[in-house]
């Protein structure tokens, strides 16, 4: 733990994918968790929005004494307010989620902040392995559980991936008692967003396999082709060697053997 570090974790209001109910956002909570592990209770958790938002309490329930809220109305551009605040306070590390679970979910906030602050941005991090002499060793999450090591000098912005350590459970009692400190802040209306037309997501049509056959024979083949599925291959009486070979060939074909 590095208590002298000044870490700010930015949190937003999440949304449950099934019920659509407000909750703590998964990635933001991971950012808070990472902050807590790096600098303990000293981590500063920042939200731009409404201090009365109930779901903020579930971040506080992770063991925060206080949570700072830049007061913004619903239609304001949060990244501007956050950018102002951060350039004023100049922390060492800014942690965010990759993408918000509500609103536009563009995932632009960390990029805009990094651009505004002029700091490097490390995307999709899984962990911060160590911080020494003003340089951080970071593990970046790659698809399929792979990791890449990156070194970067402080200060920097990092977006925390789902691969990071799962956030600790939010406890009700501390969440109730934590102090939500509202800071009146200048707000800029998000005019582009105001022109958006938002509706519940439609089901996207699955792309059909179009058959563009040039010849009658191809058309005939396409029309009578056996449909996929309908049971796989079963090897029953072959010797184990052959059976193992078949499995092995499949593994090779799928390219999972490294």
């Amino acid at each position: 733990m590095q208590p002298e570090l000044n870490i700010v974790a930015l949190v937003s209001v999440g949304q449950h994918p099934k019920s659509g109910r407000a909750r703590r956002a998964e990635q933001d909570a991971r950012a808070v968790e990472l902050g807590l592990r790096l600098s303990g209770e000293k981590v500063q958790v920042l939200h731009a929005g409404d201090v009365a938002e109930e779901s903020l309490r579930s971040y506080a329930g992770m063991g925060l004494k206080q949570l700072r809220v830049l007061q913004q109305s619903a239609g304001a551009d949060a990244s501007l307010a956050l950018g102002d605040y951060l350039s004023e306070h100049q922390p060492d590390i800014v942690l965010t989620g990759v993408r918000a679970e509500s609103g536009e979910s563009s995932g632009m906030t960390p990029y805009l902040l990094a651009e505004k602050l002029g700091w490097p941005l490390v995307t999709r991090i899984a962990d911060i392995a160590k911080i020494e002499n003003g340089e951080a060793e970071i593990l970046q999450a790659l698809p399929r559980g792979q990791r890449r090591a990156i070194k970067v000098r402080l200060p920097f912005v990092a977006s925390v991936d789902n691969a990071a350590e799962a956030p600790r459970q939010s406890a009700y009692g501390p969440g109730r008692r934590a102090q939500l400190e509202p800071l009146p802040w200048v707000e800029a209306a998000d005019e582009v967003r105001a022109s958006f037309d938002e509706a519940p997501a439609r089901k996207r049509p699955k792309r059909l396999k179009m058959v563009k056959a040039k010849t009658a024979a191809e058309r005939f083949k396409a029309a009578t082709a056996k449909s996929q599925g309908g049971g796989g291959r079963i090897m029953k009486d072959e010797p184990p060697r052959e059976q193992a070979q078949a499995i092995f060939d499949l593994l090779l074909e799928e390219g999972v053997l490294r």
């Binding site: 909750r23 459970q169 939010s170 406890a171 009700y172 501390p174």
Partner: protein, 646 residues
Amino acid sequence: MILDWLLPVLLLSVLALALAGAVRRVSLWRAGQPSPVNIISGLMAMPRRYLVDLHHVVERDKYMSNTHVATAGGFVLSLVLILLVHLFGIESKLLAWALLASSVLMFVGATFVYKRRKNPPSRLSKGPWMRLPKSLLVFSATFFIITLPAAGILPEGFGGWVLALILAAGVVWGLGEMVFGMTWGGPMKHAFAGALHLAFHRRPERFGGGRSTGLKPVDLDAPVLGVQKPTDFKWNQLLGFDACVQCGKCEAMCPAFAAGQPLNPKKLIQDMVIGLAGGTDAKFAGSPYPGIELGNAKGGPDSTITEGLVNPDTLWSCTTCRACVEECPMMIEHVDAIVDMRRFLTLEKGNTPGKGAEVLDNLIATDNPNGFEPGSRMNWAADQNLKVMSEVKEADVLFWVSDGAFDMRSQRILRAFVKLLKAANVDFAVLGDEERDSGDVARRLGDDATFQSLAKRNVAVMNQYRFKRIVTTDPHAFHVLKNEYGDFGGHYEVLHHTTFINELVKEGRIQLGAHKGGTVTYHDPCYLGRYNGEYESPRELLAALGIQVAEMERSGFRSRCCGGGGGAPITDIPGERRIADMRMEDANATGAELVAVGCQQCTAMLEGVVEPRPEVKDIAELVADVLVESAEPASRKRDELAVEVA
């Protein structure tokens, strides 16, 4: 004669010491939180509670019951007479003879205690408890001999000073153990604390044949939620811990202990005693928590229980099956204490193990423990054409579907029950998507905030509609709706489906054929049986199907839990065995080919046992299988269809 002046002095000083001990003990209890009790009526009710309710429990073991009556009765009588004869010096042959008789009675009882202690079962604590029968014998024998002169049988001064010295030593030993030890903290403490515990019990409804099993709500505005340190318990809970006689009946019944999980209810209560008085468990002389060595637990009234005194895993091993509470001759409330401490771990520490955190998050976000879409609660009944309360507003019976709606196995039970309801032409409706999880799991996992939120919203929904009764296939929901929603303004008549079907059968509203197949045994769900006393309806129903139940050794109020209660499958504390496997062994021992169950959780747990094993079926399924659908409703159904087609 030395004894003539020494005895009253000894008596007086022991009484004074006992008084000091009592003051100390009482002050330990009073460090707990206030809990309103009616002191006068409690004390007035105490003898009856002791002689009737407590004796009722003790009497399950005839040997111990008779022994205790002799020993305790003899002792109380002797002590009163000793004070009269030897302290106040009332010279009455009659009293002396009575004292002789009572000490003989006590001696006889004590010999039986001694015999029992010769080769004690493992559930009994050893240590000072092994000394107790000797103390009892010494006490009764000493006062028998001392009283002989007063009764005129022996001359004064008999035996000279040697005997007098021996007798004086006996008096000191006997009085020390029996009177001073009673209040200061020896084995006899159970008599003092136990009597007061009965008088000031936190659930007085339990006496006189009543039942009180619902958990008490947490005040969510309190500075600390749940129990962090021993003094956070209510004072009468602390008193209750002190009443423990360490008989180990709870230990013998506890499914978690039997499965090798780190829980022993007796040890837990003793740890609470260590907590309230301060100290370590090095002197504990019973079975330890499986897998945890003795001697490392330390505690005090103001130190956090789960840091040093009790391992959190111990608390999370409990299935809240209430077997310990049912068995406890002192009527101690183990489950209350465990859930109180869990509340602290969940609400204050955010430390629910296993999948607990995930389940609670899901309950908060989706009102069901598995995070399914709240709007898909009625998908199981897409083909059932059920009436929904939000449309009909009124029905005779509200069918509480429970979260079984999301589980494919439980849906079979639900369908079977709906088939029966329809066959009996019951006017029923469901809440549909307005229903939420009953909150049972959240509450047992210690998250009373989520429980209260769910309960309040469920009550608000139900209070919009008019219905006479609620019926549910889930004993957990049944218990919560019936016993725990009252605190939130929900007072309902709630029936378990086996009770309701039994009613329908008795009224002749459904016709049944006979069950075909081999031997059947019945597993009592804890939340139906021990929590709510319903043992008969399921058995009557099975009898109505022509089934003669091959009872398991542990059945009825002694039924063994399936391991599925109290969030135990969620917290998933490792043990040496699985509780469900042990329960299935119980069933196997009866030679049953089918285990009849009345709970979807039990069904899931028992079906999780690796085959070969008996089949597991809910009673609703068994009944629906042999339902004779009468011609009349069938033709009506055809008419309805015709109308729909037209």
